[in-house]
């Protein structure tokens, strides 16, 4: 249980930090050049024009970190799912934990919430097992 929790927390932190770098730094730098974005948004604020250093840094972040983050996120999902099995979480709690791991900043809250639950359950579980 301890090792599953540790693995989950490490991956949640890595993925959470990368998510912030990617979504809150990389995506604005790469996409806020005044043109449309992802074929969804017709225009963006023209803060970082194409060719500027900021834009290029953004492109680097979204190109390399974006793909790397996707695969790391899969590892995160596996560790989170493994922990959910060990800790016998109910389905809603599991799904909220997994999905919140995809949202910048919120992922840290989800990690905190999951860790707190595991610790709380361990604290109540120990006296019970001591009695038998």
């Amino acid at each position: 249980m301890n090792s599953a929790l540790t693995r989950y927390r490490v991956m949640a932190t890595v993925v959470g930090v990368l998510l912030i770098v990617l979504c809150l730094i990389g995506v604005p730098l790469a996409n806020f050049d005044g043109s449309g974005m992802w074929g969804i948004f017709p225009s963006t604020p023209a803060w970082f024009p194409v060719g500027s250093t900021a834009h290029e840094v953004g492109e680097l972040i979204t190109s390399y970190l974006g793909v790397a983050h996707g695969w790391l996120y899969m590892i995160f999902l596996l560790t989170a799912f493994q922990l959910s099995r060990r800790a016998a979480w109910d389905l809603p709690f599991t799904i909220v934990t997994l999905i919140c791991g995809t949202i910048p900043v919120v992922s840290f809250w989800a990690e905190h919430r999951a860790t707190a639950r595991v610790r709380a359950e361990r604290a109540t579980a120990v006296p019970t097992s001591a009695r038998t």
Binding site: S63, G66, V67, G70, M74, L77, F81, L91, I95
Partner: protein
């Protein structure tokens, strides 16, 4: 009725379906983007705005590798005596010849660029080569390779459009490239088709473009990787749903098993 089909679980089934479907669709979105970006890289140059040849290369420069198929505005003087025919070229399924006449840029003795004016089934049917000044747009192409040797250097038929072979037929230097007369370029006031001056295409069929930029393996590979990631996420969502159904069924059986067991602890 199986426990899993109970109305209180419908939301879970629906969520699993939505998540799996969404991941699948997002994967296809990225997959399409991957295809579209590769296609764009392969053909789009022929429709970009033409540039003056001098902006891309001088007579002694190597071919600008990223400019295969780039439209260039060509102004110069035809060198009709340098006309050659390049064999083995297909047009609508028939084998024939490209008709190539060098264009000296700009004056008659300046370095020349071989220009593919069109296609004929037989060189004897080719119209007379144009003379005098000309201005038109052509697609820039690199000199062809050196796999086939010109086995008869006395005639004006070449096995391929190699600048080193064409140079035997002219008195001046040649550019390290050739051009195909363009008939369809980006909108604008370009000398193309009816507005071109003396482009020498009369009486000839349209030649095809032999060389288009090759698409690198890594072009838009990010989109392909994202597509695969999305599909794996979809599978993972389906897997979690499946694990959950197993749990529900196990829980459904457990109380029955408990009831069937004797209760030894109770005295």
């Amino acid at each position: 009725m199986p426990e899993l089909l109970a109305p209180r679980y419908w939301a879970v089934h629906l969520l699993a379906l939505v998540l799996t479907a969404a991941a699948g669709v997002l994967g296809f979105w990225q997959y399409d983007a991957w295809n579209a970006r590769r296609d764009a890289e392969a053909v789009d140059l022929t429709r970009v705005a033409p540039e003056p040849l001098s902006a891309l290369m001088g007579p002694d420069d190597p071919f600008p590798g990223t400019k295969i198929g780039q439209p260039v505005v060509l102004g110069g003087t035809w060198v009709p005596d340098g006309t050659v025919y390049v064999s083995g070229r297909e047009h609508e399924g028939r084998k024939g010849y490209w008709v190539v006449t060098p264009l000296a840029i700009p004056g008659p003795t300046d370095p020349a660029l071989p220009v593919v004016r069109g296609w004929v089934a037989d060189p004897a049917e080719a119209p007379h080569a144009p003379t005098g000044a000309a201005e038109f747009v052509g697609w820039l192409q690199p000199s062809e390779g050196s796999r086939t040797a010109d086995d008869d250097r006395t005639d004006d038929v070449l096995p391929q459009l190699r600048v080193a072979d064409v140079i035997q037929h002219v008195d001046q230097d040649l550019y390290g490239a050739y051009a195909v007369v363009a008939d369809d370029v980006a909108p604008g006031a370009w000398p193309v088709g009816p507005t071109a001056t003396n482009d020498g295409t009369g009486g000839l069929a349209r030649p095809g473009l032999e060389q288009l930029p090759e698409v690198s393996t890594f072009t838009a590979v990010r989109n392909l990787l994202y597509a695969v990631e999305w599909w794996i996420f979809g599978l993972f969502a389906a897997f979690i749903w499946w694990r959950w159904t197993q749990d529900v069924r196990a829980a459904e059986r457990a109380p029955e098993a408990a009831e069937a067991e004797p209760v030894p602890s109770d005295p």
